[in-house]
Structures are given as C-alpha cells and as structure tokens.
C-alpha cells in the first residue's frame, strides 16, 4: 500500500508532477501541447497528436460535468475504510478540451447523475489522499 513518503517519491519525475504542484497552490492546471495546442490527459511525456514534448500547463476553471460515477462500498482502499461508501466521479472538463479527470464527490449526493454540473475545490492533503492535495467535486445543483 502507498504511504505519504512513497506518494511524494512517485510524484517527482511523473508526467503529472506539475498538476500536483498546481493543486498545492489551489489551481487546476492541465497540460496543453505547446506545438499543436491539443489538450493532453492523462499527462504523458509527448503529445499523441504531434509528438511534441513541450507542454503549457494551463490553468483551467474547475467546472465540469459528471461523465461517469461509482459509489464504492467495498473496502478496496485501506485509508478510506471509514468513508465508505464514497463516490468517485469521472468529470469532463469543458474548459480543457473535454478531457476527463477523476475526483471524489464532496457534500450532498442528491442530484448525482451523468451529465450533472459540478464545481471543483482543492481539498487539503490528508491521510486518505496520501498526503497530496486532491481535487474534489461538488454538485452545482445539489438537491435539485
């Protein structure tokens, strides 16, 4: 199982390291190819469209829509046993070429459905996130 030291170690040198560094500053940044301007996610060493290896880590308004979701009931993740059940979202980012990013749902679950608009917040590092800041999502029309 991952621990906070190992998470920190994994982060360094990973293609998405700037993502985590941005989250620590309360910003959502997504890589955009410096050559062809395509949004690339998950982060990787080169752009799949033009093979450029230079990216502009572009700040993106943390708004999106639920593309898919699951409510997790089984204790797959030791550090989240006390949170069960919790909801994991795949969120489509309209301001970043409609790439899809993972995050957990925070707050009221009423209105949870594919297509529901969500707003992102950055949650402080915790044991559940292995000491890293995490993007969480709130339903924009919770209870609606």
């Amino acid at each position: 199982m991952l621990d906070t030291d190992e998470a920190e170690h994994l982060l360094r040198g990973a293609p998405d390291a700037p993502f985590w560094e941005a989250l620590a500053k309360d910003e959502l940044r997504v890589p955009r190819c410096a050559a062809c301007a395509g949004w690339v996610w998950p982060a990787r060493p080169a752009c799949p469209t033009c093979t450029s290896t230079t990216f502009d880590w572009t700040e993106v308004t943390p708004e999106g829509t639920v593309y898919s979701w699951t409510r997790v009931w089984y204790p797959f993740v030791a550090v989240r046993v006390d949170e069960l059940p919790y909801v994991v979202l795949v969120v489509e980012l309209p301001h970043a070429g409609r790439v899809r990013i993972l995050g957990t749902l925070h707050g009221d679950e009423a209105g949870l459905a594919i297509g529901a608009p969500v707003n992102g917040i950055v949650a402080a590092p915790s044991a559940a996130t292995y000491g890293l800041p995490a993007l969480q999502w709130l339903l924009a029309e919770a209870g609606g």
Partner: protein
C-alpha cells in the same frame, strides 16, 4: 486469409493444478504451475522435457527459466510474457506461442498462468501493482473493480439494460451448476438473488464480480503437423490478436468510446485473420473480471451493438447447449474460478474437443477473449479441423 499464423498451430494438451479458494493452496504458485504443465503434457501425450518454450501474461512470475528445472527442459528456446498486469494478455500469450512456432523459434510451447496468495498476495492487488498512478490512488481508486464500475455505469447510460449484466452472471452460474469443479456450482442465481446481493462498486454487485482463486492452468501449443500426429482433435489457432486501439493502451479515463472494453481493433484483425465473423462463432469464453466489461467485449467483437445488447444478452441466448452464443461454459471467471482467466483457455479447447460439461453440439469455432477494459486486450479464435 493469407496470415501465416492461421491454422498453423494447435493446442494438443490442457491441464490444471488443483484449484483452491483464494489463500487456500498449501503450495506456492511455482509448484502449482509445474503441476499444471505436467497435467497438460500428460493430456497431450508428450514428456515435459519436450517443451522448449513458455509464454504467459499478467506479470506472471513463473517464467520458463524457473519452470525448466522441474520439467527437465533440455534447451529453453522461448520464454516470453505479454506486457502489463491485467488479464488482457491471456489470448496474447497464446498468440505469442503460435508466433514463436510459426517463426521456428520453438516447437512445443506451454502457455501458463499460476496464481496463489501465498506467493503474490491478493490477486486484485498483485495484478494492479504499479498500474494505478497517483491520479487514481489519491482519489480512492485502487482496484480494477472500481474502474470497471465506472465504465459499466457509462455502458448502462448508453442504453444497455442492466438485464444484460445479469444474463452474463446467470449463464455463468447455470453452467457452473453442471461443472463439479466449479466453485459457484451450488449457487442458484435467480434474478432476485442477483439484485439483492450487496454492492461492491455501483453499478456492480457481488455477483457481477469474478472470484479469486489459487491454482494454475496450462495449455500445450505445437505446429499443426505435429498436432495431427499427437491427437485426432486438435484445437487449431485460427487467429490470435493482441493490442490496443489508438487512445487506449494506457490507464486513463479519456478513452473513447468510454463504455468499450477496448477490443475494436483486436476484433477487426481477428475476423480478418480467421476469415470468420461473429455470426460463425459457436461458443465464447469471455474474460469476465466483471459483467459489464464482458458485455462491452461482446459488443466490441460485433455480436451485438449498444442498441441490441439487451435483446442479445439474455440468459437463454448465452446458455448452452442451444443459446445463440453460449458463453463461459465452464462457469467462467465468475462461477468456475478465477486464475486470471486461465481456466477459460482450457474450457475453450474443451469445447473444440467436444468434452465440456456444457458442450455446444458440434462446436467448431470457439472464441477466447482476454482482459476487457485493461490497457491491452487480446482474443484468440480456436477452430476444429473442419474450420481450417
């Protein structure tokens, strides 16, 4: 039809070790794998020392060089595993064996997979280690079930009814009830039992999920010429394809189409290489880590579409002997037992030989798929002599 691989090799032996509940094996995975290979050799009528090649997948640790000391291997010529930790390499390992034989790199290749908790820990952790990056782990996603749940949720959203998931489970458990070796043989999975089972990760319930078991399975692949000397009922490898479509091939949630099990290009190449199509297939052993990806795999292979999956995937249609496409005829990964899919390669061969517990009468073409929703997937089409 011009593939040098088509019909050039055949499976002549199948074998398994004892299979246990997860954590129940008194022996480690290396010993179990040796036993499976020896059983497959006995079935094939060859001596284990005649094997000169080994293939596997899924990060299996029981490499040829580790097995050879027990098997008396004289000259190990081919030891090769399909990359990645998922079951996606299952059929690819058979393709790798066939390719080695066609290219003259080996003559007798054992395709093996051995798993035991005492050796590798829980299978779901063992096969995911190093594959879930921080984007997943930080967000509480560390198991294949969760990713398959997200994909399945979208599959249902695209119009596939939940009844299709149930049909995969119901057919699997029905077949298991007739297989004395199946771990799920005593479960009568009616719709109410299925619906009332606990959630694992929505929309997947307990009965949508594969088991985890300890054990090993092996098959022996040789050239078609040698096969004809060894047995009167070889299971010919008509086509074997592995890979990933553009945009797949890594773990990410931006794949398109998201609901897919990722077989589109593999299936296209499989039908091209074999000269057959989905309507010709008699029986399918569909890798079923979870029911949703299995349904998606059937769609990817052209058996049905998003629109027709509900009508196609009924318990009646998926059940032997007379369904339109009987699947998982030993009980499969859900109900027979789960050795990372390896028991299904044994069952696919049994169907071609005509000795399944749920035999499809006159089965000539049997499909085996590996690894829905993994970064890499693979499929093999086995055929009887009349299909060459």
């Amino acid at each position: 039809m011009s593939s040098p691989l088509r019909g050039a090799t055949a499976v002549v032996g199948v074998g398994t070790s004892s299979v246990y509940r997860r954590g129940g094996s008194p022996e480690g995975e290396l010993t179990l794998t040796v036993r499976a290979v020896m059983a497959a050799c006995a079935d094939a009528g060859i001596h284990p020392r005649d094997i000169d090649g080994f293939t596997s997948y899924g990060g299996d640790r029981n490499a040829g060089q580790r097995l050879m000391g027990s098997l008396g291997t004289r000259d190990l010529r081919w030891s090769s595993s399909v990359w990645d930790g998922g079951g996606g390499g299952l059929a690819g390992a058979i393709g790798s064996a066939a390719a080695a034989i066609v290219a003259g790199q080996a003559d007798v290749v054992a395709v093996v997979r051995g798993v035991a908790e005492r050796s590798g820990g829980r299978l779901r952790d063992d096969v995911s280690r190093g594959h879930f990056d921080l984007q997943y782990q930080v967000n509480g996603v560390e198991a294949p079930a969760q990713i398959c749940a997200l994909r399945t949720q979208r599959l249902l959203h695209e119009g596939v009814p939940e009844s299709a998931l149930y049909a995969v489970a119901a057919a699997s458990y029905h077949h298991a009830s007739r297989n004395p070796r199946a771990f799920g043989r005593d479960t009568d999975l009616d719709h109410e039992t299925y619906l009332s089972s606990r959630w694992v990760s929505e929309p997947l319930r307990l009965f949508d999920c594969s088991r985890e078991n300890d054990g090993a399975a092996a098959i022996i692949v040789v050239s078609a010429q040698q096969a004809a000397e060894l047995t009167h009922r070889p299971a010919y490898v008509l086509a074997a394809q592995q890979g990933a479509d553009a945009g797949f091939g890594e773990l990410g949630e931006s794949v398109e189409p998201y609901w897919s099990a990722g077989f589109a290009s593999v299936a296209r190449r499989l039908w091209n290489e074999s000269g057959y199509g989905p309507n010709d297939v008699d029986v399918a052993e569909v890798y079923t880590n979870f029911t949703g990806p299995a349904v998606a795999a059937l769609i990817d292979h052209g058996f049905c579409t998003l629109e027709t999956a509900g009508n196609f995937c009924t318990t009646e249609n998926l059940t032997a002997p007379h369904g339109r496409l009987p699947i998982n005829t030993s009980g499969g990964d859900l109900a027979e037992g789960f050795l990372h899919g390896a028991l299904s390669m044994v069952e696919a061969v049994r169907q071609i030989r005509g000795d399944s517990y749920n035999q499809v009468p006159g089965a000539g073409l049997a499909l085996l798929t590996g690894g829905p929703a993994g970064p890499l997937v693979s499929s093999v089409l086995f055929g009887s002599e009349s299909t060459l």
